[in-house]
Symmetry: C2
Subunit: 409 residues, 2 copies
């Protein structure tokens, strides 16, 4: 029997290892698209179905798939391409005009949620630093979810959409600073000089790329591309810029996706339809892994005592209300309709809040229960925002989409 | 200093982890495309530059990048998309007509290299089973390299190209059987019944998909697509078929890329240009990781004694000559020009030979030195084939490419 068992072992053993990738691809992509189709048929945004695919496949329900490096690679690539693709549709000149309003929206959207989070845990009787961490976890908007919804509906060129995008980028920088501040408080003392330096470098990077990077790229890429011999050279150049700016963003201390967005924006006025189509192919392949990956992180089994369930409900409500009020009020001068759109568009927290909670857990300043609450809040806000966005943009949707047929997702 | 060092640690530590993906993307993709451009300017195929990028970045020279799971994921996805994309350009009806010739080419291309590999190590005085393993490692053609060259030059519709593709698929099944045979010999005895069953299932799978799968897909996909609400539904359906057939191929015991090729071929007559463009985007992003990944595996530091260098040279020459003669003679009835093209097109061994050598090493029947020689042979044949293919197809190239503008890579 030895030879038989060896062959069987070789085939199944080899197959088990070799089948990991296609099995993960089929399960995650297939389930995500199946649920997206189902949600679209129910009149809901498909993106909600794709996130729920992760919740269903993950530890909460079926337990078929745990977050692993393979899926993380695809998810990280997915959100990079998503923001790159969104950047490609944004004209930096238009975005810069809205910079003032966006900054006010971003700042209000940081301060109000931070205050809410802090006050909730303070009222709960938690230590001050724990309350600060919950506040920090409620600060940063996840630009990916809103961008995907707006892109899918062809709404990226709306004024409110552009303000959301710009505010979310500024928000990311502010969120980093809040995190650096509470992290150093957790360690005992605060070095304001270093935090200030980080802030300065991050702001300079974003402004430099948005303002001068665009012009440089607009001049260099067409010239380089004309002399390239390699096939699809323009697309290759665009990808190299995407990877380089993502890396630079991380080195500077902000999220890779901000670099990806800036790379797209820098190329927005310089590249042709071919680069957009090819990027779109990569985006369509990879984004479901980002969306399902968000859902995979939640573990509903953590919510079993009334105490943690009520904390989760309070935090979730506060997360939605605080962003909506903070950003909505800041955008009030633009009129009620746009203020509501901007308020809703800034609601999703996604992976940024999770990272803050992970650091708090690693530093030992927040307990496992608060960590679970933050993850649930992050996932639930990403699930709540798309249907609200759909409502807030009702009416406009069909007009612009019909007008230029611009549909990304 | 504690707070400063913490912040620095958090920033650099967090950045080091977070920057792994964009750093790997930038280094591998950027170097691959830079060298591809260089080689194109030197009048050589860009693919050679992309493989060399892996050799340069890998342990042989710079040692900046070692094969890791992140790169393996992208490389495995890359070769799946490459074969899918190639399948999309192949009409199954045309391919089936050439099935007879392709089978003869594949069989000769298995037997002659196996005999050469066996005889070399037998003459070297190695044990019989070691000689069999070298023979087995020299058997399977790597369809990816040749397909990429032919696709890049717009030559996939040539009769010789179609025979190469079909023969390489058959070759993969035959290579599996040879491997199963020598593996079970290494374990002491051979179960011909089980090997025969595996062969039968594999052949039935390939024939079934190529013959009836195409028709089924051709009817089902357009109908399903028309009723889909989700954006880019046709592309999503195509990807689900790609992942499902790749998985099925592995479960049946053949390579995932054969499933990917069959998925492409099944869709070739049913899907529109949009699916081709979107697949092309994913392919352009991912294929450089497959090509550079091949180069990453070679470690030139293993070749230091005259004995191993001379063995490597003999094996490499035998690998090229045996495939060229075996397949070339089998294709002789098609005329000298096509026989030469087919002989050259079947030369690259790539990752399949490496897998055989890994199993031999794991079973303890081949020493480390022979393993290194096989890996060098696999990488060197992929480097030698593209310039030879370019020569063999000289003259035709411009005609077809100009005629229909079909350029994939």
């Amino acid at each position: 029997m030895q030879e038989l068992s060896f062959l069987a072992l070789w085939l199944t053993g080899g197959a088990a290892e070799a089948s990991r990738l296609p099995l993960a691809l089929l399960l995650v992509f297939g389930t995500a698209k199946l649920l997206a189709e189902l949600f679209e048929r129910l009149g809901q945004p498909g993106i909600v179905g794709e996130i729920l695919a992760g919740v269903i496949l993950g530890p909460s329900l079926l337990g078929w798939i745990a977050p692993n490096e393979l899926l993380k690679t695809l998810a990280d690539l997915g959100v990079m391409f998503l923001l790159f693709r969104v950047g490609l549709e944004v004209k930096p000149s238009e975005l810069m005009k809205l910079g003032g309003t966006a900054t006010v929206v971003a700042m209000a959207g940081v301060m109000v949620p931070f205050a809410f989070g802090w006050l909730i845990l303070a009222a709960w009787g938690a230590p001050r630093i724990e309350a600060f961490f919950l506040g920090a976890a409620m600060v940063a908007t996840s630009i990916g979810i809103t961008a995907q919804v707006l892109a899918a509906k062809g709404l990226l060129r709306q004024r409110s959409s552009q303000i959301i995008l710009a505010a979310a980028v500024i928000d990311d920088v502010l969120g980093l600073l809040v995190l650096a501040l509470v992290s150093s408080m957790a360690r005992g003392s605060v070095n304001l000089l270093e935090i200030g330096m980080t802030a300065l470098v991050a702001v300079l990077f974003v402004v430099f790329i948005a303002k001068w990077g665009t012009r440089a790229v607009g001049r260099v890429v067409p010239r380089m591309q004309a002399s390239l011999r390699v096939a699809e050279g323009e697309f290759s150049l665009a990808l190299i810029l995407l990877f380089a700016l993502s890396l630079a963003a991380i080195w500077i201390g902000i999220a890779a996706i901000v670099g990806a967005f800036l790379a797209g924006m820098a190329l927005a006025e310089g590249v042709g339809q071919r680069v957009r189509d090819l990027s779109h192919g990569a985006t369509e392949l990879l984004v479901p892994f980002f969306l399902a990956g968000i859902g995979l992180h939640v573990d509903l089994r953590a919510f079993q005592t009334p105490s943690i369930i009520s904390l989760a409900v309070v935090v979730l409500v506060a997360a939605v209300v605080s962003k909506f009020i903070g950003c909505g009020l800041a955008a009030w001068p633009l009129g009620r309709a746009d203020a509501i759109r901007i308020g809703v568009g800034m609601v999703p927290r996604g992976e940024v809040g999770m990272v803050v909670a992970q650091i708090g857990l690693a530093l030992g300043v927040i307990p496992q229960s608060v960590y679970s609450v933050v993850v649930l809040m992050a996932v639930a806000t990403t699930l709540i925002a798309p249907p609200l966005l759909k409502l807030a943009y009702r009416g406009i949707e069909s007009a612009e989409a019909a007008e230029d047929g611009l549909r990304l997702g």
